[in-house]
């Protein structure tokens, strides 16, 4: 070996070094094991909590470390993504480096000239001497190999017969198929993270929700829960209608595990609860202002409906509801402090002769705090209401998903090739020596040596007439 002077330009040298660095299985082991170890942190430290929670759990010092290293959102931290990128480059370089020569050698694997010396180099080989002429031995060997589904190439020579047999060549490509499928899955994940989005909406029955980045809307027509006899929840369901350009284009029932799909967007049933801003109906009573005694027993008003208050000039319309009444002084808005019905209040409009005369809030727990009617004797009071459920719908669009699934199918194919198709090559050299025939048989396999060991032993046994049946295993029962 002579040491050649490296005359390449610096960037070529650097490129060569980088290529060498990435073309390494040791790097693969390092990255895989590192990924395994660091991923543990992300499962021990709960992800994406509010910072105050980390403070409470780990104290100030550790919280600082957690935030600095990004362990609170570890799988999106730069260094974690960097490790994944390292693995990706590693895979790409390895594949580029190994695939072309492998492909070539698989295409040109048949030797042009048979060299019996290969046999002695094989890890598995047998030499048998038979009392039989060479031609008939050759026929028997060919038969046995064919029965074992080998492809056969014959190299007849003077005084000798040679056979090269092979099988499962394409299994060699299994690891490459797996590696390419990994790249596909990663590609799908990347496409999804750039071109996709997620959203979540709570929709009350009867309401319509906008779909982000799309011209269509969805309406919740119905929401209901099914129970087992034991009272446990069996399933929750929503009937959705897709509305596009003012027209209903699709109606479908969804439940957990059964999303609706329209124009690349999926709608999932993800939660439910009592609505905090709408009721189905409320019960309203006319009462004496002074004593609070009922004058007219409660009557029911449906959401959005106008009802005449009996024996008065007034009518009321139910227009609003908050579950946990609160007033924002600065912005002058009324809102619900929580989704719980801690301080429920219904908002009504009171009409007299077709004109709005007041728009009061009626508090279930604090009747009479705000006078509802412009009337010196009587007042209105809410005595009860029937809530509605909201349905929590997650929606997402992820154009990368199909690439991920395609990658998964390719990976399955690659696994079958890599793990269950073994590339075997067998060389047989048959030579007459006097009245006897000597058979040398040897083989190589790319993995799973036990399989070939058995096959060759089996062929050798059968050739020498040791016909103990096809299922006699060469490894034997070693007890």
């Amino acid at each position: 070996m002579t040491v050649e002077k490296d005359n390449r330009a610096w960037y070529r040298k650097a490129g060569g070094k980088a290529w060498y660095f990435f073309n390494s299985l040791k790097l693969t082991l390092f990255v895989l094991i590192t990924l395994a170890i660091v991923s543990i942190f992300g499962t021990v430290v709960e992800q994406n909590l509010p910072i105050a929670k980390y403070h409470a759990q780990y104290g100030a010092k550790w919280t600082k470390i957690i935030l600095m290293t990004g362990v609170n959102d570890m799988y999106h931290a730069n260094w974690f993504v960097f490790l994944l990128a390292l693995l990706t480059v590693n895979i790409i370089v390895c594949t580029f480096e190994r695939f072309p020569p492998k492909w070539k050698s698989l295409l040109t694997h048949k030797p042009s000239r048979f060299d019996p010396r290969v046999i002695d180099k094989c890890a598995h080989h047998h030499t048998i001497t038979l009392n039989e002429n060479a031609a008939s031995v050759r026929d028997r060997v060919t038969e046995l190999l064919k029965k074992k589904k080998f492809n056969i190439e014959k190299y007849d020579a003077e005084g000798a017969y040679n056979i090269y047999a092979w099988r499962g060549t394409w299994g060699r490509l299994g690891s490459d198929v797996v590696h390419i499928s990994l790249l596909l899955i990663l590609l799908g994940a990347i496409v999804g993270s750039f071109a996709g989005y997620k959203d979540y909406a709570t929709i009350n029955v009867g309401d319509v929700a906008d779909v982000p980045y799309n011209a269509f809307k969805v309406r919740l027509d119905k929401f209901w829960i099914e129970y087992y006899d034991t009272g446990q929840i069996r399933q929750y369901n929503s009937n959705l209608t897709v509305i596009e350009n003012g027209k209903e284009v699709l109606k479908q029932q969804i439940w957990v595990n059964e999303p609706l799909y329209y124009k690349g967007v999926r709608f999932y049933q993800s939660s439910y609860g009592p609505s905090w801003n709408k009721v189905e109906s409320a019960d309203i009573a006319l009462v004496k202002k002074k004593t609070g005694d009922a004058v007219r027993g409660p009557f029911t008003v449906k959401w959005g409906e106008t009802v005449i208050v009996p024996k008065t000039p007034y009518s009321v319309k139910l227009v609003d509801y908050v579950a946990d009444f609160a007033y924002d002084e600065k912005n002058k808005i009324i809102y619900s402090q929580s989704p719980e019905a801690n301080n429920p209040a219904v908002g009504i409009e009171v009409y007299e002769k077709g004109k709005v005369v007041s728009t009061p809030w009626l508090f279930l727990k604090y009747p009479g705090v705000v006078p509802a009617l412009p009337d010196k004797d009587n007042d209105l009071m809410v005595t009860g209401y029937r809530g509605v459920m909201y349905s929590g719908i997650s929606l997402n669009k992820d154009p990368g998903t199909n690439i991920v699934w395609a990658g998964s199918v390719v990976m399955a194919l690659g696994f079958i090739m890599a793990f269950f198709v073994f590339h075997r090559r067998v060389w047989v050299h048959i030579r007459e020596t006097g009245s006897l025939t000597e058979v040398k048989i040897g083989g190589m396999i790319n993995k799973n040596n036990l399989v070939l060991e058995e096959e060759l032993k089996n062929i050798a046994d059968r050739l020498s007439g040791n016909q103990t049946g096809p299922d006699k295993r060469s490894t034997g029962d070693r007890q």
């Binding site: 299985l25 040791k26 693969t28 082991l29 895989l32 094991i33 990924l35 395994a36 991923s39 543990i40 992300g42 499962t43 021990v44 709960e46 992800q47 799988y75 994940a189 997620k198 087992y228 034991t230 446990q232 929840i233 069996r234 399933q235 929750y236 439940w255 957990v256 595990n257 059964e258 999303p259 999926r266 999932y268 993800s270 997650s394 929606l395 997402n396 992820d398 998903t401 991920v404 699934w405 998964s408 990976m411 399955a412 696994f415 079958i416 793990f419 269950f420 993995k447 799973n448 040596n449 036990l450 295993r473 490894t475 034997g476 029962d477 070693r478 007890q479």
Partner: protein, 295 residues
């Protein structure tokens, strides 16, 4: 609940006897002990299968919805996987290790608190059936036997776990045998082991089964999550641990084609991989918060 628990008791006893027979045949090197052990292992597999069948009829759904039920599937898969390997390769010594492991697994299932054992109806997220199968079976009015992603996901994952469990046993045997071969010492117990070279190969073969099945389990879980939750991957602890395990076994596969990493180091990786499986299976359910709390 009666019949499944009855067969659980039977199986527990069967596994104890099976383990003793395998150990006996290893120590005393009597052929008839080995044959009796194999027969007993077949009976135990059958009995474990009965646990699963009765639990399915009692619960009205495939028996994979809590820890106890999945343990039975695991024990059954390890047993069947072992028997297939014994049939193919005719080594019985492994049985002593695998069946002892089965006894421990049965014991841990037995010790589970009641809430992990009882037959429960499926919560909304667990109800997933393949439409095509439901449609097909409804022709004969048998749609309630349709299965879905839950069943596929659990079964593939547990076949993977079973492969890894067997490989774990083989890796320990490999380390023992390797040490005795390198030390050149003779020992009657070690002589009954297959050569280290063969153990290394068998350890690889079981992982070559486990790895694709675990991968299929992870991917089918992703497909299902995409139906149920709207994302195929959300880095919840169970998912992440399955990936950790997957990384370790991927490292194992590559260690075997790397110079200097074959044999002993690869065996250590296989052992580390199985410890990760145990944590993935039990640890995550008990220790870490997450969506997979049921099994």
């Amino acid at each position: 609940m009666i019949l499944s628990l009855l067969f659980f008791t039977f199986s527990f006893v069967f596994y104890a006897i099976t383990a003793l027979l395998y150990i006996g045949s290893w120590v005393f090197k009597k052929r008839w002990l080995g044959q009796a052990a194999t027969a007993m292992a077949v009976i135990a597999a059958f009995s474990t299968g009965m646990i699963l069948i009765f639990r399915a009829t009692e619960a009205g759904h495939a028996p994979f919805s809590n820890l106890w039920e999945s343990m039975m599937l695991f024990v059954w898969a390890v047993n069947v996987g072992y028997l297939i390997m014994e049939y193919k390769h005719k080594f019985r010594v492994m049985g002593a290790f695998v069946m002892t492991f089965e006894v421990l697994a049965m014991l841990s299932a037995f010790l589970l608190p009641y809430k992990f054992k009882s037959a429960e109806p499926l919560n909304p997220a667990l109800q997933n059936k393949w439409h095509w199968m439901t449609d097909l079976l409804s022709r004969w009015g048998a749609q309630k036997y349709a299965i879905g992603w839950l069943d596929f996901h659990v079964v593939t994952t547990f076949i993977g776990y079973a492969g890894f469990a067997i490989s774990f046993g083989i890796s320990i045997m490999f380390l023992l045998k390797n040490r005795s071969e390198e030390g050149g010492r003779k020992s009657a117990l070690m002589d009954a082991f297959p050569e280290a070279r063969v153990l290394d190969e068998l350890g690889y073969r079981t992982i070559a089964w486990g790895f694709p099945f675990l991968t299929t389990g992870i991917i089918s879980g992703a497909v299902w999550a995409n139906y149920a939750w709207g994302t195929y991957w959300s880095w919840d602890p169970k998912e992440t641990w399955s990936l950790i395990t997957w990384f370790i076994y991927a490292a194992y596969l590559h260690a075997r084609v790397t110079k200097g990493w074959r044999g002993r180091k690869a065996a250590y990786l296989s052992i580390a991989g199985f410890l990760a499986v145990i944590f993935l299976y039990w640890g995550v359910s008990f220790v870490l918060p997450g969506l997979h709390a049921y099994a």
